[in-house]
């Protein structure tokens, strides 16, 4: 099969994937550090809203913690792999893993909105839509604009 030249948009998509994968790693590290320290944060000087937020974090169950970790890890991994796939214009690593990332990310955004308390950024708000922008764009673009470029 003749190799197609990689369009600039696909390169941009790969770069954005790598940037977001980096954010996922930072988020993993930040979450790990926060949850090891959260029980020792003094709340007596805080106002009611801040205290409610810290208490909500302290009361998070192990299941929720595992969910946050697993989703961050999975998203980061899928972003990284699909970014490489876009650069190499591969069907499996690019198109399939890219679709998997988009679906996982959309599902996790919806589940997070339903699962977590409002104090923890749960509930549907504009930031939920911001979180959906990139996965939806990915889903649309790799299945329309760039579909014929991910065939190696």
């Amino acid at each position: 099969m003749q190799e197609r030249e990689r369009p600039g948009g696909l390169t941009a998509l790969a770069v954005i994937n790598f940037v977001f994968a980096g954010f996922s790693v930072l988020s993993l590290l930040g979450t790990a550090a926060f949850f090891t320290l959260v029980d020792n944060i003094p709340t007596d000087q805080m106002d009611a809203a801040q205290r409610a937020q810290i208490e909500a974090l302290q009361n998070l169950g192990t299941g929720a913690l595992v969910f946050i970790f697993a989703i961050n890890l999975l998203s980061g991994l899928l972003l990284l792999l699909s970014g490489i796939g876009y650069l190499k214009q591969q069907k499996v690593l690019g198109w399939m893993v890219g679709n998997a990332y988009a679906v996982v990310s959309i599902v996790s955004s919806v589940v997070s909105a339903m699962m977590f308390a409002r104090e923890l950024g749960g509930g549907f708000n504009i930031m939920t839509i911001v979180g959906l922008v990139y996965p939806i764009l990915t889903l649309v673009l790799i299945n329309t604009t760039f579909k014929e470029d991910l065939t190696n």
């Binding site: 369009p7 941009a12 954005i16 708000n125 839509i129 673009l141 604009t145 760039f146």
Partner: protein, 330 residues
Amino acid sequence: MIHLKTLNAAHIRLIAVHWSRHAVRGGAGLVYLMIALVFGLSVAHMVIMPVEQLMTVQERERGQVDPEAVRNMIITVGEPITQFVLGLRSVEEIAQQDTGHEQPNARNFVGPPQEATNDAGSESWTDFLLEDRPALLSAIFLLLLFGMPFAISFLAFNQVTGDIQSHGLRYLLLRTERGNIYFGRFLGTAAFSTAVTAVLIAIITLYLGLRIQIYPAAALAGWAIHGFLAVAILMLPYIAVCSIVSASVDSPFLSLVLAKLIIGGVLLFAFLGGLKWEAVKLVKYLLPWGWQNHLLHPEPSHWLAAGLACLLYTGVFLMLGYARFDTRDL
């Protein structure tokens, strides 16, 4: 000498449609789409979040949300901020107003010329934005009018410069004239920018209408259309600035950097220079910075004049860029 006789409407339309349809595929469109949506929605979140928190507190304490109280809170909090953003009051004046000592005539640097407004006018403008129109949408539009010119160069920086660098234009010039490429790509960029603006404002308006529910749907829809037109028209002169830069340099990266420096630099220079010399503040009128908020003015004469001025700036910048593009070595 500018050769406009070679322009062909069918060619321009074909190039514009192709350019806007392939903006995402080229990369610049994708980056702009991400930046515009994330910036616009984050701005909306910043404005709407405190209101959502207030509504949550009301619901918890009273069992229901009181839309009138929420609207009044928005007006009370938003009035001094809006007056500052519109350049009708300086920070010092707002502080003095709070303590009962008002100085009505001083202006900050982003405001219109002093003779253009007075206290009654300034109050009516603020009241119009906060009371007569959905205040949350007004606040978001003011922030978009300020912020979107910084984002537009990510879309418009590479209208012709990449093809100049790669000498790819030589192949296109076998089939059409320079003017058709130049104006076609400008129109394609403008069409893409307008479509992104429409999507952004539609998302924000739908969220306000379906989720927040403190404004009537008709008022939201009407003001959303006005705000969309304001942002869409304001983008045109800034895209035209990028057209000049893109037609003048041989490197896409240099074009992006120069476009950013010009668009941001004019405002920064006017601000910093204005601190030392009053006359330097006028530099901001080289671009629409000085009067672009008038696109949201209550008087039709003001917003119509501002809209026409946008088109005039666009025409002048486009012609300057075309004069360069038409005569340069490709």
